[in-house]
Symmetry: C2
Subunit: 251 residues, 2 copies
Amino acid sequence: MPNPTACLVVIGNEVLSGRTQDANIRFLAARLGEIGLPLREVRVIPDEREAIVRTVNEMRARFDHVFTTGGIGPTHDDITAEAVAAAFGVPWEPHPEAWALLEAYFRPGEFNAARQRMATMPRGATLIANPVSVAPGFTIGNVHVFAGVPRIMQGMFESLAPSLAGGKAVVSQAVHAHGLPEGRLAAGLAAVQEAHPEVEIGSYPYWRAGGHGVSIVAKGIDGAAVEAAIDAVAALMRALGAEPVPGEPAA
Amino acid sequence: MPNPTACLVVIGNEVLSGRTQDANIRFLAARLGEIGLPLREVRVIPDEREAIVRTVNEMRARFDHVFTTGGIGPTHDDITAEAVAAAFGVPWEPHPEAWALLEAYFRPGEFNAARQRMATMPRGATLIANPVSVAPGFTIGNVHVFAGVPRIMQGMFESLAPSLAGGKAVVSQAVHAHGLPEGRLAAGLAAVQEAHPEVEIGSYPYWRAGGHGVSIVAKGIDGAAVEAAIDAVAALMRALGAEPVPGEPAA
């Protein structure tokens, strides 16, 4: 049975403007691979209601799980929860459990209207615990809504992860060869890929202070097949007069 | 007149697997803002023909310019040029100018079939110079195809940039206040946003070793309007008993 699939929707003007270097894509990509729920697509969209509604509805129909990051704070540009409610066609309303959490967290009188937004969610949402700063994320249907701040997003992901039914972990092996141009390896590599169709083989040339070369990465859910593919690549490198070195080159 | 719009399609299994931290989104986001061609959406998709064809066709209809990164090398997983040709419904064939460039670059006998792929492009493509490693990118219609390696991608972008008709540069100003929780600023900030609809105001809480606070960023193509919005935010911070500090907090 093939693994279930995941996609990520990054809701963030700050990423689209270049203000912020996104750090959530790589974290989720790696962790989702580990739990057998490989990331198949990412979209970065603006903090705009219509864009969020359209994207969430398209993605939740196409993928088993949709993760969103960003836009669940207390300010005017935090519109993710309201837009996700609109996408599901349900009311956006106070969530009793989230409300109680936040009311208890703030000092009397400080749980103001802006902060109450953080306890206002699509009807039917279940909370995702935030071990860093209390205000929770939530799940509705197959859509999981996280904060955008990486530390908080990571905490929310780890809160949720045990309840995600993934498939087999994606395993990965690499081999590289200094001084071997990608263009000399290419024909043989295509043959190795053809002989190992259940493994995904990627070729990544590198240029480093210590020299250039090519790094080959094989990925799949069958560890023996991945190893066999990497062995075939190493043999090919040797046949071309290069020395295969396990793993990726040092950065 | 509103600025023309841009989107980016990152073609890269290595980003979706978490192997690689993408560095192209932020570079292009920042440079496109500077030349008045703001980035409105990013998609990260796998190295799969059908995904590339579908995404390129959707995006070139929705945006004035589409940029792609990745998948134009010599190996079996480099299928971007072929897929873009399919998206445009034109043949994928040797490009005489690219062919001549690469044939001259390699030693006799080394311009093999794999490397010839790098000179094979959609019919009607015009080349984008690669100042780093010769093999060019290309433009067809409103789609600009770059390499994925950041140094090469950046070189290709700078080769192309003078020919891109952008609008007015997006300017940005920021102000931050230590010790001010986002949730106290939120109501007043919403009023400032409402009073300055032509400016996009983002609110970014931060937690640093030196303390926490909130950073407000205003962006737009009218510099005076951006400045007026930031002045209003600074006045609001003062009214709440906090000290506004120009710019973003030190990392």
